[in-house]
């Protein structure tokens, strides 16, 4: 099959459904072609840890179509931090490079039951520690729009795979921006729902109070549909909200006269001018079409987000990684990469007696203040429009020697994570170098329907889901 045809099928579920129902293509030929393209892409973008064999993909596809499962076999990929029964799961780390679990993550189990077909496990920063995939213990992934650039991270391989049209969607996890930032760098929708919407059981933990399972995809309608299928209580994850109503995308009529906030201080010289101009473009779109009022919002503690995050996230990470003590999984602790060691040390330091109050406890308190900033803001406005990232995709190697510069890339994605509120990054076009530009909408807890409505309206105006890089 031609890449054009594959892309047509992965672009929207409607396309897939129509083609499957009318037998427009051969499933086994599709499986073979898809895998061929993934291997072809791998030589240039190194997006994958594991590509499943075509026979296995075909088998699952056939079964899902035959039994008329809701997803009809629609092929997706998963970040390699999700436990998949019988399929190697590494968290892109050397410690787990031979780990084949005999149990399943809830999200994979649910998608399998719904008839989704897992095609690949994607590369990321090891354990989710990073913003470029350069911290993968195996190799860095590349941005398919420009292979000298990073795809973002930690879910960089995920975003690249969807961007190339080789996954219909990807299941990833966002701790401080790991879905929204790579989606932004690759021109996709990065959907981080409210903390506690989707079960984390079987997602290899980075920072448990922040880790949020979400999706990277092209079309907000499909994403919300999938979100509704996989979210909800799980007897294996006590942090999932018990009573969740189905998310309904707000129709255009309900967007009228809503209020959107923005934080004026961020439209300064630290943000790439392309992103600022896109911000104004989108702002004008909403004002002109829906009479939406834009309101300046002060969030006095927003600036502390990064500092708080780099206390709390490493503290929890150091604890979550304690189980890789060299006794199990066949690899000793000297296999940990630099960033993992850095975070284990940072975390242990922040939790050590004598420093605990000054760092960990203080950070918890400031997190509370940031949370309250959001709650206060949402008394005045319905949502916030923010940049997703300060810049578009940066060069490979540009920041990998300077962790602080790397951390700064998450400056807009971290505060919503600390507050547990949903944030969705969405493509707004391209910058002067031809790299995708994105913004981010953030709303109150469980406001995914409103955010999706706003994004759907925008999506219909510029159709970013039709954009593809030249690869593979």
């Amino acid at each position: 099959m031609k890449i054009k045809d594959i892309r047509h099928l992965t672009q929207s579920f409607a396309n897939w459904q129509k083609a499957v129902k009318s037998n427009q293509f051969d499933l086994s030929e599709f499986s073979r072609s898809l895998v061929d393209y993934m291997h072809q892409a791998q030589t240039k973008t190194q997006s994958y840890i594991t590509i499943l064999p075509p026979a296995e993909i075909n088998k699952k596809l056939q079964a899902a179509v035959k039994s008329n499962k809701p997803l009809l076999g629609w092929p997706f990929s998963m970040k390699d931090i999700f436990i998949t029964k019988g399929i190697k799961t590494t968290a892109s780390s050397k410690i787990l490079q031979d780990f084949v679990p005999n149990y399943d993550s809830t999200i994979h189990q649910r998608l399998s039951r719904l008839g989704g077909t897992l095609t690949a496990k994607t590369n990321s920063d090891a354990w989710g520690f990073g913003a470029s995939t350069e911290n993968s213990d195996f190799y860095s992934s590349k941005n398919p729009y420009d292979t000298n650039k990073v795809p973002g991270g930690s879910s960089g391989g995920s975003a690249a795979s969807v961007a190339m049209g080789l996954s219909a969607f990807d299941i990833a996890e966002d701790t401080g921006g790991s879905i929204r930032q790579p989606a932004a760098f690759c021109g996709l929708i990065g959907f981080k729902p409210t903390y506690g919407s989707i079960s984390r059981y079987g997602a290899i933990a980075f920072s448990s109070s922040l880790d949020t399972v979400g999706l990277i995809g092209r079309d907000i309608k499909d994403i919300v549909w999938l979100f509704n299928q996989v979210k909800g209580p799980d007897q294996k994850d006590a942090t999932v909200y018990p009573d969740q109503k189905p998310t309904k995308i707000y129709p255009a009529s309900r967007l009228k006269a809503k209020k959107i906030g923005y934080i004026p201080g961020f439209l300064d010289e630290n943000v790439q001018p392309d992103i600022i101009s896109h911000f104004h473009k989108v702002k004008d779109f909403y004002t002109n079409n829906f009479n939406i009022e834009f309101v300046e919002i002060n969030m006095p503690h927003f600036d502390y987000g990064l500092a708080v995050y780099y206390i709390l996230a490493p503290a929890e990470a150091s604890s979550n990684l304690a189980r890789y003590d060299g006794l199990r999984y066949g690899r000793s602790r000297d296999q940990f990469g630099h960033e993992a060691i850095r975070r284990i040390l940072l975390g242990n330091f922040a939790l050590a007696s004598g420093y605990y109050d000054a760092y960990y406890l203080k950070a918890l308190k400031v997190r509370r203040l940031i949370y309250q900033d959001f709650i206060q803001a949402f008394k005045k406005v319905d949502a916030l429009l923010l940049p997703a990232t300060p810049t578009t995709a940066f060069d490979l190697g540009e920041k990998s020697q300077d962790p602080l510069q790397m951390y700064l890339n998450d400056i807009f994605t971290i505060p919503p994570s600390l507050a547990g509120v949903p944030g969705i990054s969405f493509p707004t076009g391209f910058d002067s170098q031809g790299l995708p530009v994105s913004l981010q909408l953030v709303g109150p807890h469980f406001s995914e329907g409103l955010l999706a409505g706003l994004i759907l309206a925008w999506q219909q105006s510029i159709k970013p889901y039709l954009n593809y890089p030249n690869l593979p």
């Binding site: 799961t89 679990p101 149990y103 604890s319 990684l321 939790l351």
Partner: protein, 446 residues
């Protein structure tokens, strides 16, 4: 020179495993005694990547019951923390426990006139078990995860005891109390009750507590606990008399040599780097639980309640030790009221037949008691049963023939066990006659 008087200061830490069916944070079976190694395990209690704890509500309820029985203040909102340390029996690298907000605190257990203060009662999870074995000539440490994640409750007392006897009375009362309310089996042989005593000694004139303590660990009986504490007090006094400093230490007890021995020197304070468990939302005890458990009566007060109901005191004191489940007594009371039974008569009947009704439903006791009101007087049945009993108990027969009259009462007991109440003097005579006949016949044979 007058001799300085010393006073022991003893505090206790007791771990009990709750008798829930499932483990604390997963659905695996909690029972692990004599189970085949690593049978009751899953990703959660093996600490595998991505696995998450899901708290067992019944275990929390039972912990609340314990806190209530020990008259504790309750934290209606509490949480779990991760206590980090490295050990092969701890697969996650941390143990889930309640450090900041124990479920219960500032309680006491009253024994006669003394209220022994309880510092805290909190919920945690048990560790896996290490087995050091020689396999194919190689010394190996094997890990059995059946016990990993079994719900455990830690009860910590204030250093309020001044003798081994006091401590053991406390421990026995506690064991009874927890068994009575069916929250734990408290079986030391099976490891469902584990004791630690912190022992130090101060000058009687000193108001302050000593600045060291010796932890006595891994002692698995009340008797040995008492012996170990007594030994330790003597050892420490001897050292103090020689003006020697006593190091902070963990010591074990050797029951054969009847003395304690050092196990490890305690580092100043281990830094456990407690972290709020982010995978478990804050625990809010339901109001209904708090209401239900408000008026739990400790066993020693229940005793009085039962005496007030009309049970003979001497009888019920013994019976409470034997029939140690509150629900059993409740069912018995229901029957007594329904069938208008005389508690005094029933009590004496039960006392005589203690072992027969152990672990049997209360309804069977009542049924037999009522049947037993009729004395079995069928002489054919009596003769047959006597013959059977004589045949089944050759030792007793021999004892009788050797002149031990006691053996007759043993045989009477066996008979009663088989067919119920009988006219004792009459039946004793029957047995005696039968045995005498046997004697003469065997004599004539020789």
């Amino acid at each position: 020179m007058t001799k300085i008087k010393y006073q022991p200061v003893i505090g206790l830490e007791i771990h009990v495993e709750l008798n829930t069916k499932a483990k604390m944070f997963c659905h695996c079976l909690a029972s692990h005694f004599q189970a085949k190694p690593n049978q009751n395990v899953c990703p959660v209690c093996l600490g595998l990547p991505g696995a998450m704890p899901y708290p067992n509500k019944l275990a929390l309820y039972k912990t609340l019951v314990i806190a209530r029985l020990l008259n504790c203040q309750i934290n209606p909102a509490s949480s779990f923390e991760r206590k980090h340390y490295f050990y092969p029996d701890l697969p996650k690298g941390y143990q889930l426990t309640q450090y900041i907000k124990p479920l219960g605190y500032n309680g006491y257990l009253q024994i006669e006139d003394i209220k022994y203060p309880i510092r805290r009662v909190h919920q945690e999870e048990d560790t896996a078990k290490l087995k050091h074995q020689i396999v194919n000539g190689q010394k190996l440490s094997l890990v059995d995860f059946n016990r990993s994640g079994v719900p455990l409750v830690e009860i910590v007392t204030e250093p309020a005891f001044s003798s081994a006897r006091q401590a053991v009375v406390f421990l026995k009362t506690l064991q009874k109390l927890l068994r009575f309310h069916q929250v734990s089996d408290c079986d030391m042989e099976k490891g469902s009750m584990r004791l630690e005593a912190n022992v130090s000694v101060k000058k009687a004139s000193d108001a302050k507590l000593p600045d060291y303590k010796v932890e006595l660990k891994n002692i698995n009986s009340f008797k040995f606990t008492a012996e170990a504490i007594d030994y330790e007090i003597k050892r420490q006094i001897k050292l103090l008399e020689k003006s020697k400093a006593i190091p902070q230490q963990t010591r074990g007890y050797d029951p054969k040599l009847k003395r304690t021995f050092p196990q490890r020197q305690k580092e100043e304070a281990h830094d456990y780097k407690y972290l709020l468990e982010p995978d478990i939302p804050p625990i809010h005890l339901p109001k209904s639980w708090l209401e239900e458990t408000k008026n739990l009566t400790p066993a020693n007060q229940l005793l009085q309640e039962w005496i007030n109901k009309g049970w003979p005191e001497s009888v019920v004191k013994i019976l409470f030790t034997h029939f140690d489940h509150l629900s059993w007594w409740r069912k018995l009371e229901e029957q007594i009221i329904k069938k208008q039974i005389d508690r005094k008569k029933l009590g004496h009947f039960l006392l005589k037949n203690k072992s027969r009704y152990y672990l049997k439903p209360a309804s069977q006791l009542v049924q037999d008691f009522l049947a037993g009101q009729h004395v079995v007087d069928d002489s054919k049945l009596l003769t047959q049963t006597i013959d059977q009993i004589i045949k089944d108990n050759p030792q007793a027969v021999e004892d009788f023939l050797a002149g031990k009259q006691q053996a007759l009462y043993f045989l009477l007991g066996r008979l009663r066990y088989k067919i119920g109440n009988v006219d004792a003097p009459k039946v004793i005579k029957m047995i005696k006659d039968r045995l005498t006949k046997l004697k003469t016949s065997s004599n004539s044979l020789t």
